[in-house]
């Protein structure tokens, strides 16, 4: 910031190494990562008290997303720790679906989480939070050099990370009403959008929505099904030190026949159906009016009643996202079982916002157009706190590396869900808000919650994102795991001693625990107690035992998948230089040439994932690349 009191400021140095626009989930992780790597960072945000606020569902994790949280955590990020520190209920999902897709989900405390992050950020050295609205990206000969705020101040930096969420050109709709806002009660950011247009970025619009909030004291809980948390509490982060506590339950209820009648009668008043909203919303997160419309034969829909925190009576009716007029929302929600006398504290709404279609970024999240300008979170067309945090940490790391001229840090599809997500972003036209699902990962069996640190610990250590001590702690766990693997391979048990399981193992008298683990029809989570019993496992050894069991279980598949991964990597390593001119390649089909010029893949493998690029285009490309490389070498 251009302030006089900066001690020893030299004329040409920037105020900060990195300035982050927006203190949401992406922005916070970006700034923290940069600071951990020794850079000086600032977050410019509209309201410093609203850092990492959850705009919508107060929950972190879930299937596909929890893997992202664990990866962010392995890279030294805050999301796991903040969730563990303030969450009010923790569950493990998908236990019967196999360990690769076991997922953790926490009911967060909206206010508690936000306060935790505000406090954590305040404690950081070299990190400043600036209260203001960013209006323009300052650019000098193709490089980002800072940000100008709407009030005229400017902040100079060597790199800029944009994490402005749903605020760019935000427009909220409730029934026939619509007004500019980023989130309800918060202003939108218009100037910044204009700045991107002026810089030549392509901008498009997406939409999302949220349900009304309810006063929990007016809900009849007795008619709802209770959903308690799991014990022992499945925390996210190995860094968390929180002990056991009394969890707050969620509840499950459903709409009634009356709900459908009211919604059907008023559907035309929803901006989604009236034509007032034209941008695409997420298919996986439809509004209640959309659900009744598209699945007309479904008489009722589930509604999850989720507490917003311990210090509030507000309840989030998950599954009832709507943009119907306020009075219709009130009438309709009172037809849900148990909500007959409910008070609505805040109405639901839909919001449309600007995003920059993600073919405009590189795998490092740096924009192609402006050097030193990075995009993370909703601005890239994603949706979700976890997706935002994961991009945020990557953008922060890469901005930090950019400042010292080091090569970018890129995770590939076989290493992390983060890699899958970013690769998807840069090879696809995103037409609906992008959310993570486990089915997006082709090497799903290798990308698990339990091995996030196996995959990322060495990166985190090298980059200075975690301390050596912390990294060593993991290495210790890893060696314990290996010992346990060996133990399981040699411990024999009598089938007769296996009680209930023995009926499924009729054919033999005894077997090793490793063999038992490999029985495909036995569910691993049910086996764990047996393993504990036969290995004198103490609670301390539980993590290594579980890890060992999962490793044994998957070994055969991992070996098979390794060959696919090798093949994949080979194509990934067939790099396309950034100055490569696709237009000059004869033999490419027109469609491929256009798509390649638009998405600018960094490797032949990535090119192949772009729709419209055929195997023969890939072949042509790799031949030309080889020649390109050889002539470049000859020129030197």
């Amino acid at each position: 910031m251009k302030t006089e009191d900066k001690q020893g400021m030299k004329t040409h140095t920037a105020d900060f190494d990195i300035v982050v626009i927006g203190g949401g989930h992406a922005g916070v992780e970006a700034a923290l990562a940069a600071v951990r790597m020794g850079r000086r960072a600032a977050i410019v945000t509209m309201d410093p008290q609203k850092l990492a606020l959850m705009s919508c569902n107060p929950a972190i994790g879930g299937i596909g997303k929890s893997q992202l949280v664990k990866e962010v955590d392995a890279l030294g990020g805050l999301m796991g720790v903040a969730t563990d520190g303030t969450g009010i209920q923790f569950r493990r999902l998908n236990l019967s679906r196999g360990p690769a897709v076991w997922s953790t989900r926490a009911q967060a405390d909206r206010i508690g989480y936000n306060a935790f992050v505000v406090e954590y950020v305040a404690k950081q050295k070299n990190l400043e939070v600036i209260d203001g609205v960013a209006g323009e990206i300052l650019v000098d000969s193709g490089r980002a050099i800072g940000v100008r705020l709407e009030d005229g101040r400017s902040v100079s930096a060597r790199a800029v990370v944009v994490a402005s969420g749903t605020f760019l050109g935000g427009l909220i709709h409730i029934g026939e009403k619509h007004f500019p806002a980023g989130r309800i009660g918060e202003q939108a950011a218009y100037q910044l959008s204009e700045s991107f247009r002026a810089l030549g970025f392509e901008i498009s619009r997406l939409k999302t929505g949220t349900p009304p909030r309810l006063d929990g004291r007016t809900i009849d809980w007795s008619v709802c099904e209770i959903q308690p948390g799991d014990e022992p509490i499945p925390f996210f982060s190995s860094r968390s030190r929180r002990g056991s506590f009394t969890q707050t339950p969620c509840h499950l209820t459903a709409t009634s026949e009356k709900t459908r009648e009211i919604i059907d009668a008023n559907k035309h008043r929803s901006p989604i159906f009236s034509g007032q909203i034209t941008s695409r919303g997420p298919r996986y997160c439809p509004s209640i009016e959309d659900k009744f419309h598209r699945f007309a034969d479904k008489p009722k829909h589930h509604i999850f009643l989720e507490p917003e925190g311990n210090g509030t009576d507000e309840v989030y009716p998950n599954g009832f996202s709507t943009a119907l007029p306020e009075e219709v929302q009130r009438e309709a929600i009172r037809t849900v079982i148990g909500l007959e006398g409910v008070t609505v504290t805040r109405p639901g709404y839909a919001v449309e916002y600007d995003y920059c279609p993600s073919h405009q970024i590189k795998p490092s999240l740096e924009t192609r157009r402006i050097q030193g300008l990075f995009f993370a979170g909703q601005i890239n067309g994603t949706s979700g706190y976890e997706e935002a945090a994961a991009q945020g940490i990557m953008a922060g790391i890469n901005a930090a590396l950019y400042c010292v001229n080091e090569p970018a840090f890129i995770l590939d599809r076989s290493e992390a869900y983060i890699g899958v997500m970013i690769d998807d972003l840069i090879t696809r036209s995103i037409t609906e808000p992008y959310r993570m699902f486990t089915s997006r990962a082709e090497y799903r069996l290798a990308l698990r919650e339990d091995n996030a640190r196996d995959r990322l610990n060495h990166h985190a250590r090298r980059l200075g994102l975690i301390s050596d001590a912390e990294s060593d702690l993991f290495l210790k766990l890893d060696s314990d795991t290996r010992v346990t693997v060996a133990l399981l391979a040699k411990t024999r048990v009598k089938v007769a001693d296996l009680n209930r399981l023995s009926s499924q193992l009729k054919k033999r008298d005894s077997l090793t625990l490793a063999e038992l683990i490999r029985q495909p029809d036995l569910e691993l989570n049910e086996l764990l107690p047996v393993l504990v019993r036969h290995t004198d496992g103490q609670r301390d050894g539980m993590e290594s035992l579980e890890r060992a069991a999962i490793q044994i279980r998957y070994q055969g598949y991992i070996d098979k998948q390794q060959r696919e991964i090798d093949r994949y990597k080979k194509l990934e390593h067939d790099r396309i230089p950034s100055d490569f001119v696709f237009q000059s390649v004869h033999g490419l089909k027109t469609e491929a040439r256009e798509k390649l010029s638009r998405f600018r893949p960094v490797s032949v493998g990535q090119a192949g994932r772009i729709e419209g690029v055929t195997p023969s285009d890939m072949a042509v490309l790799s031949v030309y690349l080889k020649r390109h490389r050889e002539t470049a070498r000859a020129d030197k």
């Binding site: 495909p520 004869h586 072949a619 080889k626």
Partner: protein, 466 residues
């Protein structure tokens, strides 16, 4: 799962394909490249001369190509090229045979039974280029060749000369994606919609129906071969039965030697004829009997191999022999499951025409190669058999490429694995693993890469979203 369709052979994969263009006659060749090439020679090739037993680089060796069951498919020339000095730059072998298109295909099929993958279109050239075996200045030309080969191959499956083959494959793939999306939904959306869950009985039915359809398609490979390569008829029988006489008659020329001495035909003879519009590969063989000299025995071994691989065997019986029925009963047993048509020859010199049939199901056509009696009946019978074994052309679905067949089989294999897992209540992530592999195998036939189709299906089928 994506982007693998154009995978370049990594050093681990050994690949094989026919490298001579399809066409009439001449010499056809199969190339195998990769670290397992030499083992193909060890498995299938036996040198004719004992001093040729070991492969020497670039030395053509004469010998026999044997199937895995030890049957000789053809006399071939084989050459071995060490790594770094072959066309592809990898360890490589080439096998040349004169048995024509059909034999070379059989040779390729045999090779692919090992741990060897059918080469992707353009793959050899691409390897050659990558490994520096082709001059960089020819990059444009090489790119064009590869692109053309790849295009032709995928287009061939797209605009298959026999109809909408690729549409059919895509349809099956879509069906398979439907099954996969049921399983994926039960993984990704248990939280959002607790009622979403793959019903295993329903899944089994869907998988079974797919296996049936894919198998039927894979089976047409035989029929497809008949169309592209012709229908193979082997004339077999005891010595002196009149096989060569019949061969010449069907050929309408004196091609085979005919003498009263048993054991006249030793090597086999192959001729291509047109029978009512069908292309037929007609093969005359040495007569089968116990004993005989060394050369004759060798001929008999060849004959047996031919019989086993034939689409139809015309088994000629000399009716003038007193004990023909007894011999025939013995012979039929040893013939096994081959498709046989029985022809009772020399009916002109049989005094009283006793019952010609061995049993109700084993009718014999009485005929004479001398007078021509019964031959038109034989002709009709042959054409009937050909028609019966032809694939259903109205559906237009015929697999003619060994590569496609291999992918279909891979897909079927993974569907079966998935089936076993579903039955054994194995967790869905592992079922999905096999289903995904099955989907991508099918995609590799038409060059389709995995896209967001699975999610698309899930969102349209299930009401997802809390």
């Amino acid at each position: 799962m994506k982007g693998r369709t154009a995978s370049r052979a990594d050093t681990q994969d050994t690949i094989a394909a026919i490298i001579t263009p399809p066409g009439e006659g001449g010499i056809a060749a199969v190339r195998v490249a990769g670290s397992k090439s030499r083992s193909v020679l060890a498995r299938h090739f036996s040198a004719k001369h004992s001093d040729d037993a070991e492969p020497h680089p670039f030395l053509m060796r004469l010998g026999y190509f044997k199937s895995l069951d030890g049957e000789i498919l053809d006399e071939v020339m084989a050459v071995f090229m060490p790594e770094g000095r072959s066309y592809t730059g990898l360890e490589q072998i080439e096998i040349f045979c004169h048995g024509g298109r059909q034999v070379v295909k059989k040779i390729l099929d045999e090779i692919l039974k090992g741990d060897i993958r059918a080469a992707e279109p353009g793959e050899f050239t691409r390897l050659a280029f990558e490994n520096g075996r082709i001059d960089l200045s020819r990059a444009e030309a090489v790119a064009e060749i590869i692109a053309a080969e790849t295009e032709v191959s995928y287009r061939a499956s797209r605009e298959h000369l026999l109809g909408n083959y690729s549409e059919h494959i895509d349809m099956l793939r879509t069906e398979l994606i439907g099954v996969l999306s049921e399983v994926e939904a039960s993984i990704d959306f248990t939280e959002d919609a607790p009622e979403v869950g793959a019903d295993s009985r329903k899944l089994l039915i869907l998988v079974d129906s797919l296996v049936t359809k894919l198998s039927a398609l894979a089976e047409t490979y035989r029929g497809g071969r008949i169309i592209s390569e012709g229908y193979t008829i082997v004339i077999g029988g005891r010595p002196n039965a009149g096989k060569s006489s019949l061969f010449n008659l069907l050929l309408r020329k004196e091609r085979a030697l005919v003498t009263p001495t048993p054991g006249t035909t030793r090597d086999y003879l192959l001729e291509r004829i047109d029978l009512d519009g069908y292309t037929v590969n007609l093969i005359d063989t040495a007569g089968l009997r116990q004993g005989g000299g060394k050369i004759e025995r060798e001929g008999q071994r060849l004959a047996k191999g031919m019989i086993a691989k034939a689409d139809l065997v015309i088994w000629v019986v000399d009716l003038s022999k007193q004990n023909w029925a007894k011999l025939l009963t013995l012979d039929i047993e040893s013939l096994g499951s081959a498709h046989i048509l029985l022809l009772g020859n020399k009916i002109d010199i049989v005094k009283k025409a006793a019952s010609l049939s061995l049993s109700a199901s084993q009718k014999i056509i009485g005929a004479s190669c001398k007078t021509g009696i019964g031959l038109s009946k034989l002709h009709r019978e042959i054409v009937g058999r050909i028609e019966k074994s032809m694939p259903d052309l109205t559906s237009g679905l015929v697999v003619t490429s060994a590569r496609h067949r291999q992918k279909l089989k891979e897909s079927i294999r993974h569907l079966r694995l998935a089936r076993t897992k579903i039955e054994g209540s194995v967790s869905p992530e592992l079922v999905a693993y096999d289903l995904r592999t099955a989907v991508s195998s099918l995609g590799e036939i038409t060059g389709k890469v995995y896209t967001e189709q699975v999610l698309g299906r899930i969102f349209s089928r299930f009401c997802i979203g809390k």
